[in-house]
């Protein structure tokens, strides 16, 4: 029953920040990273981790990799879980960062318990336990739109139906003086050598640059999120200006609005507006509008062909 009901969620800092807050974490914020050079990354101080979203390709994972002894033993030292549920990958990457934060950063009871509970088990079982966590699943799902017309009695789902996994999330985190890549689709964490927290922006920058340059066919479909401290707290501590605080408040308000809209199906509103628009058309006008709609279908196919 572990895989029921994990919806896909958007890769968005408003979604991720609110998601971890609903999991009881406070003082953590996600930021869009527009440039992956060392200086830009260093602006997110402290930079706890990086979440890298990219176009998933099966072929990249078909190549088997030699793992070092350090890598093979790593999952006993910190939190690393295999990805058992396709749609949970965003949440999985988030947990890979949060569950490996330095001990003095509070991550709330839900995640602390989860981390504690999964400490002595193998990565595969950890992935399964994550899949079974109702609390985490519910928080995750609260950022997705329900399918308004899925017939409720459809208990016999076809396996793998939605699991085409077009995008994938990977976390980069400095843990115990080493830079690690935590990818739930790989057997072990990947080690990128020694790395202090201070060196992390610079070292992760070069890992990301190399990764992006190696993307097949120069495919640049990726996005990067930084995990850092809640900007409002940083501003309060450093005596930020009123304007800066107001901007942060506005950003939060916008997140609340966007998240509320993400949960909506809008079926009722769409229908009322469609009725208003097509109901107001004369027969000829309506016919013409339909013709234009059909033309758009043709254009769409012509573009794809």
């Amino acid at each position: 029953m572990s895989s029921i009901g994990w919806n896909t969620i958007e890769s968005d800092c408003g979604v991720f920040t609110t998601l971890v807050e609903e999991l009881g974490v406070s003082g953590i914020e996600f930021f869009d990273v527009l440039s992956i050079d060392p200086d830009s990354l260093a602006q997110f101080n402290p930079l706890y981790g990086i979440i890298f979203l990219y176009k998933y390709r099966k072929s990249e994972y078909a190549v088997s990799r030699e793992y070092s002894e350090t890598e093979k033993n790593a999952s006993g030292q910190f939190f690393f879980a295999h990805q058992k549920i396709q749609n949970a990958c965003a949440t999985q990457a988030i947990l890979s960062v949060l569950c490996n934060l330095p001990e003095d950063i509070e991550i709330g009871p839900i995640l602390s318990n989860f981390k504690e509970f999964s400490r002595d088990i193998d990565p595969e079982t950890r992935g399964e336990i994550l899949g079974m966590s109702d609390e985490i699943r519910q928080a995750h799902n609260s950022f997705s739109r329900p399918n308004p017309f899925e017939s409720g009695d459809d208990d016999r789902e076809t396996p793998d139906e939605e699991n085409d996994g077009l995008y994938h999330f990977v976390a980069y985190v400095p843990i115990n003086g080493q830079l690690w890549e935590l990818d739930g689709l790989k057997q072990y964490p990947v080690n990128y050598g020694g790395c202090t927290n201070e060196e992390f922006p610079e070292k992760v920058s070069s890992v990301l640059m190399e990764r992006v340059q190696k993307a097949p066919g120069g495919d640049l479909r990726f996005s990067v999120l930084a995990v850092s401290r809640d900007r409002r707290e940083v501003l309060k501590e450093n005596g930020g200006s009123t304007t800066e605080l107001v901007v942060e408040d506005l950003k939060r308000k916008e997140w609340t609005r966007d998240n509320a809209l993400r949960r909506e199906t809008f079926v009722g509103l769409i229908n009322e507006l469609v009725k208003g628009v097509v109901g107001g058309m004369g027969d000829e006008q309506y016919k013409k509008a339909l013709e234009q709609g059909r033309e758009k279908t043709k254009e769409m196919y012509a573009k794809r062909a």
């Binding site: 009695d153 509320a260 079926v267 229908n271 097509v278």
Partner: protein, 281 residues
Amino acid sequence: MATTTDILFFKAGQADFDEETSIVTPRRGQGRIVVTQPSDSEELISFVWEPRGTAGGEKVEVYPFAGDATFQHVPACKTGRVFKLQFESSGEKLFYWAQNPTDSENVWELSKEDKRVLNTMQAILEEQADDAEENAEDVDMQDAEPKSAPAVNPTVPDLASMMRNIQVPQSQSQSHQAVPVMNIGSVVSQNMMAEHIRSLDDQEVDRLCLLLPDVIPKTRESLIGVVQSPQFAQGMNTFDSALREGAASIIARELGQEYLGEGVEGYLESARKAAKKEEDK
């Protein structure tokens, strides 16, 4: 007590085939096919179509067996993914249109899931499952196919559910084949909706604002903002895909409107009629 083994389960609707016109017409509503094998019989399999959710329709059970029945993709249908179950002995042919979502850009193409269904069924019926696309000939439709027609007409649309008049390519009609509307937004764009909101009186705006989530301010400008938001666009896409996957009759019922056909066009007809009715009151 006899037990059964599930072999296959997939979402599909029924469809009718007209011998004279070579046109496959989907029946409304969502359905599923369940193929099972009673454990006390090695040869007999049960192939059941049944309605899914609240869709109507009678359950149909048939017993195909190897050497008599064949299960094939009908590649001539370019407006959706259609399967044919044919019985040699009785000459009976049953048609089904796949209702599982597809990611393929060309929606007549079988998805991975469809291929799995096809291969499994063909394996059960001891068919060669090598190359389903090639092998699944279209005996019934060949006559209608123009000799020099391009193998695939890329301008022919998707729309499993708009298959009210799935045209098996006819010699002359190919070039100006009917193309259905695929997205509500290509007839009623978000901008048109915003314009419409601007033209309403305050009372009508208030009525629409009741449909907004709690945290959203209930004003005309805020309503327009929502309608122009990317989240609203995603909501429209979800609506479109539900229509494409055969939910038009459920949607009509839930909205208290008359069902007037599948797909986006069927829905638009239904919404327009509902609006006209309100006007008359």
